[in-house]
């Protein structure tokens, strides 16, 4: 068996003296799209943030490997250099830091870390314009502060724009679908779909199965009470939509 791109083993995480993740196990092979679903407060966002390297959580036990490397031993920026990307549920506004300069600096920091040549300003501008067109974003986004004054939908599109430019090997998208109207949802889904490749994986963290109508997942995992209580194929998402999360929770308890 080949090593999965992402392997989470018995991951147990606490914050403020409270256990949030309690023995999470999950494997995401290269080239696959998995959905991580679950009720509010089940620990989905915590899992996404811990994988991306947010430091204000305590890792109680367990391990996460990414392409065979010990992810938890790497600082956040090194995880990005290694090809990990987190699309935030609530992208933060950073007035005074130009949206596009950040994107260029991020791309070049990652290229430097991989020993690749940096892209120059002209080349970069061409690249970002092309990707913006794909995301139906107008040129005014070039000159604005990072997410500054963006609507909820614009912030999510901007996350996907970054994803398109940075081309990571693993993208974790935390509720990228929430707060989007149907048109924006389609644009975002198309953006993600263009990136699908045999060596690139996605973990779509979502509360509803709506996004999964546009991006068909290979596997669906249900997180409840801090652990993965059920995994299945895409029909699991439809079943959850009909029967609710209490159904899997009850099942998990019986088991």
């Amino acid at each position: 068996m080949t090593e999965p791109l992402l392997r989470i083993s018995d991951l147990t995480v606490a914050a403020g003296g409270k256990t949030i993740l309690n023995g999470v196990n999950l494997e995401l092979p290269a080239g696959e799209v998995h959905a991580l679903m679950g009720p509010n407060g089940s620990g989905k966002s915590t899992l996404a943030q811990v994988i991306a390297g947010r430091s204000d959580y305590t890792i109680v036990r367990g391990a996460v490997t990414f392409a065979g490397r010990d992810l938890l031993a790497m600082p956040a920026e090194e995880r990005a250099h290694a090809g990990l990307f987190l699309g935030f549920q609530y992208p933060v506004e950073i007035p005074g830091v130009n949206n596009v300069y950040l994107l260029k600096a991020a791309l070049n920091a990652q290229r430097r870390a991989r020993g690749e040549p940096e892209v120059d300003a002209f080349e970069f501008l061409g690249l970002v314009r092309e990707k913006m067109k794909l995301m139906h974003m107008d040129e005014s986004f070039l000159n604005r502060g990072v997410n500054e004054g963006f609507s909820g939908g614009e912030k999510k599109r901007n996350e996907i724009l970054q994803l398109l430019v940075l081309e990571p090997t693993l993208a974790i998208l935390d509720e990228t679908d929430s707060g989007l109207d149907i048109d924006a949802l389609k644009v975002v889904a198309e953006g993600i779909t263009t990136l699908r490749r045999p060596d690139r994986s996605f973990l779509l963290v979502t509360h509803y199965q709506r996004l999964l109508n546009y991006i068909e997942p290979d596997r669906v995992h249900v997180l409840a009470d801090g652990r993965v209580v059920k995994s299945g194929d895409r029909t699991l998402a439809l079943e959850l939509e009909q029967r609710g999360y209490e159904w899997v929770r009850a099942q998990a308890k019986v088991a």
Partner: protein, 443 residues
């Protein structure tokens, strides 16, 4: 009693005054005005830590130093070194003042018909009575003691008049303090007549690393519908003192866009007293300070709404590292008759070290019910959510921190209408930041 040491601190000025008073311009009437100002100051004494707006000022720094009397005229300065420190503003008239005295040889030609600039020495000799009427004796408030000191030595500076409807090129006023232990007391009188538009920059620097004391007073009057962008950049040597006072009276529908940028100084302090006198007047008062080492930087303001439909917005951003100290004290008063006033105040401070300190006091005093007011104040470290966002994109922690500090301060500079000034101030701020080379690709 603490009055005795305070008076001691003023004795040096009394002696200096006796030595030079007879040589100052303006004739007998002006000698009397200066003497009266000095006597008032002696009666009232230096401000003390009990005075709210002087609470944090390390007054002993100022009191234990003996600053010499202002030189009677502009001293020669090194023009090359001066040019290096000057801001370069395309198309602006540059006027250089050495210890307050206009230095024609270092300045561009005085501007033409839209605008009249008269060195104050000249105005005092030509029209002593008119200048006296233009300058009422300051009140007793602790904040105006320095204005009294300025008046007691008044001899230098300039009168600037922008004619009705005129819109001249920006005026860049470079104030150089020169000579170890020299004091200077420059005074600017600025009048914008009806509908005039102007940009004026006051830039305070020191020649070399001398220990100097600039005690400047700027008196601004805006006529109906006038618009002034006024910028004060305080950038003396690390041993320098710059204590500046700005008095502003705003007529109907006039607008003052004020930016105060305090970049250095053993003690740099800017104090604003603005009065919205005419209906529909508006003021935007931005202040930014960056205190490092042992610098002590303060921005004070009292903005008074005295007419209907007036607007004020005040924005303070302070960063302190090392053992640096910052103070923001902003008071907005809405008087009883000032219906339909709008006022906003925001103060944010960032501390970069354990020993750094910033004290912030935004205050609203509202004596009228028909107002919309808001204020907020925060002091803290860099926002962890912003920091994580940058790290998650692959930016290294040192660059991310430098970038966020820069962005924090730039929030004030983006409001400058003069774009080339904005760029140069951004550059100066970048140069003062740790890890400056890391953030160059973001600028």
């Amino acid at each position: 009693m603490s009055a005795a040491p305070a008076l001691d601190g003023l004795q040096a000025y009394v002696a200096a005054h006796e030595r030079i008073a007879a040589k100052l311009p303006g004739g007998g009437a002006w000698h009397a005005v200066r003497r009266e100002a000095l006597e008032r100051l002696l009666q009232l004494g230096w401000p003390t830590a009990r005075d709210e707006s002087w609470k944090y000022v390390p007054l002993r720094l100022l009191e234990k130093r003996v600053f010499d009397a202002p030189a009677p005229a502009a001293l020669p300065v090194d023009a090359t070194a001066l040019a290096r420190g000057a801001l370069k503003l395309a198309g602006a008239h540059q006027l250089v003042f050495v210890n307050g005295h206009f230095a024609a040889s270092l300045s561009s030609a005085l501007p033409g018909s839209d605008i009249e600039v008269t060195p104050l020495e000249l105005a005092l000799e030509r029209e002593p009575e008119r200048i006296r009427a233009r300058m009422p004796l300051p009140g007793d408030a602790a904040d105006q003691r320095l204005t009294l000191l300025n008046l007691a030595f008044l001899a230098a500076g300039a009168e600037i008049r922008i004619n009705a409807g005129a819109s001249p090129a920006p005026l860049y006023l470079l104030f150089v303090s020169s000579g170890e232990h020299r004091a200077s007391h420059p005074r600017l009188l600025i009048d914008l007549q009806t509908g005039a538009r102007a940009s004026i920059i006051e830039h305070f620097v020191t020649e070399g690393d001398a220990e100097t004391f600039a005690n400047s007073v700027t008196d601004i009057r805006l006529g109906t519908g006038a618009h002034l962008e006024h910028v004060v950049v305080t950038e003396p040597s690390a041993r320098g003192f710059v204590l500046g006072s700005i008095e502003a009276q705003l007529g109907a529908d006039s607008r003052l866009l004020l930016h105060r940028v305090l970049l250095s100084g053993l003690l740099s302090r800017s104090s604003l007293r603005a009065s919205l006198e005419g209906r529909g007047a508006s003021i935007d008062a931005n202040a930014l300070l960056l205190a490092d080492g042992r610098e002590h930087l303060e921005a004070h303001s009292v903005i008074c709404h005295r007419a209907t439909d007036a607007k004020s917005a005040e924005r303070f951003r302070g960063v302190a590292g090392g053992r640096g100290r910052g103070v923001f004290n902003g008071r907005i008063v809405v008087e009883a008759g000032a219906a339909r006033s709008e006022s906003q105040q925001s103060s944010r401070s960032l501390l970069l070290s354990e020993q750094a300190e910033i004290d912030s006091r935004p205050q609203l005093e509202i004596l009228n019910n028909d107002v919309k007011c808001s204020h907020g104040s925060t002091t803290g470290q860099l926002d962890p959510a912003m920091l994580f966002y940058l790290l998650s994109r692959g930016i290294d922690p040192e660059t991310a921190r430098a970038l966020l500090i820069y962005a924090f301060l730039d929030d004030v500079l983006v409001r400058l209408e003069l774009k080339d000034l904005r760029q140069q101030l951004e550059r100066r701020i970048t140069n003062a930041l740790p890890n400056k080379q890391r953030i160059e690709e973001f600028l």
